[in-house]
């Protein structure tokens, strides 16, 4: 059900008794009316059939798309910035298919690098500064960084540069080889699906 009507902030969208306020709308507590808070198209979304509250939701879709923000469970691409004894810091560059507009920092802890033998992980044999990793966001973490995890087959180092400066080729779960010098370097490699 779509009624495309353009509204500006402050316009009345309906009564709180008949509608629920979605994104871009709010309920004024003193007179129980729903007002728009953004400029955009007003849409009414029918309620899910199994919910107790059968009011349709009204929302206003604006035009300014704010950049994506990492949420727990989302897959992100990050570049490793620092590798320490028990953690590695990374700069989150993309959330899903979209690149982020602000800088978000993530931390990969020793116990989150892989799924097996998690206390025997050597961070320096799993990551190097400058590596691009695919990781999943575990949680919002603390004030400084998100907590990331690479403990799955398809997560880990996707692309890395060898000490000679060439892009390395993955040869196993834990090794990547430089095509120029033949040197093998240890990383926690991601299994990239080839289709």
């Amino acid at each position: 059900m779509q009624e495309a009507e353009l509204v500006t902030p402050g316009e009345v969208l309906g009564r709180a008794a008949e509608l629920k306020a979605g994104k871009g709308a709010y309920v004024a507590p003193h007179n129980k009316t729903i007002y728009a808070s953004l400029t955009g198209l007003r849409r009414i979304i029918p309620p899910p059939t199994d919910s107790a509250d059968q009011r349709p939701t009204v929302e206003v879709t604006g035009h300014k798309a704010h950049g994506p923000v990492p949420e727990p469970g989302s897959v992100v691409i990050a570049r490793i910035t620092k590798v320490m004894a028990r953690t590695a810091s990374a700069d989150i560059m993309c959330v899903g298919p979209k690149s982020v507009r602000e800088n978000f920092t993530g931390i990969i802890r020793q116990q989150d690098v892989r799924a097996t033998e998690i206390d025997k992980v050597d961070m320096h044999l799993s990551f190097h500064p400058g590596d691009m990793v695919r990781a999943v966001v575990l949680s919002l973490g603390d004030a400084r960084a998100y907590y990331l995890s690479t403990a799955k087959n398809e997560l880990g180092v996707v692309s890395a540069e060898s000490s000679a400066g060439a892009a390395m080729v993955p040869i196993s779960w834990t090794e990547m080889q430089c095509p120029l010098t033949g040197q093998i370097e240890q990383r926690k490699v991601a299994k990239v699906e080839v289709n």
């Binding site: 500006t8 007002y35 808070s37 400029t39």
Partner: protein, 223 residues
């Protein structure tokens, strides 16, 4: 009331921007946000932090001014604009983030405070920041026993009282009321009523500009 002209989206780098003209007074506003708080000590855990900076360009008044950014008048007007906008932005939706509003006067001919608030409202709406209602502001005065709406510089410096009013038009609430000089209460009520009508007229104009802009965007997107 003087002629109104407004444009949206002039500053490409800002999240939202607008240029607002009331007669000869011309003001440009740029809004950045919501973005991460730059000074962590000022972060508010359940609300957005609203910051506002007002400045006048050197060339805005008749005589070229020396650059006085931190002077008392600018600080006071920055504070006033910040409090007015903070009352209408739904800050609880954006905790731990910061919204910056920068307003600069390009041409000053009286009523700069009101023009700044109107420009800031348009810029915030352009940035897609959720608000309770648009804030509009207008000045009114009383000279030669006549209430006047939207004073220019000559009328303002004639020595009569100057009432600046900011309202949320659809919710019928007053967010800003300032007056210098003294007025008897009954005349004050007339002047305030005139200012309210002026604000509602500006609100209609601002809504038209926003709808026109959205229509343009929809048209370009092919909807």
């Amino acid at each position: 009331m003087r002629q109104l002209r407004a444009q949206i989206g002039n500053v490409a780098k800002a999240d939202g921007s607008s240029v607002f003209e009331m007669g000869n007074t011309k003001v440009i506003a740029a809004v950045y946000g919501p973005r991460e708080v730059q000074n962590k000590s000022q972060q508010i855990s359940d609300q957005a932090l609203v910051r506002c900076e007002y400045s006048m360009a050197n060339f805005s008044t008749g005589d070229r001014m020396r650059k006085l950014k931190g002077d008392r008048r600018s600080t006071e007007i920055s504070l006033v604009i910040r409090q007015t906008m903070e009352a209408c932005i739904l800050t609880h939706l954006m905790p731990r983030s910061q919204i910056d509003i920068f307003v600069q006067v390009l041409q000053a001919d009286g009523g700069t405070r009101s023009a700044c608030i109107n420009a800031a409202t348009l810029a915030l709406a352009d940035a897609g920041i959720p608000m309770r209602d648009i804030v509009t502001s207008c000045s009114a005065g009383y000279l030669n026993s006549t209430p006047l709406l939207d004073l220019n510089y000559t009328e303002d410096s004639a020595g009569g009282p100057d009432v600046t009013l900011g309202i949320l038009p659809k919710l019928d609430k007053v967010t800003l009321l300032q007056m210098d000089a003294k007025l008897p209460v009954d005349i004050f009520e007339n002047v305030m009523q005139l200012a309210i009508e002026g604000c509602k007229a500006i609100a209609n104009y601002i809504r038209e500009v926003l709808l026109e802009n959205t229509n343009q965007l929809e048209y370009r997107r092919g909807l």
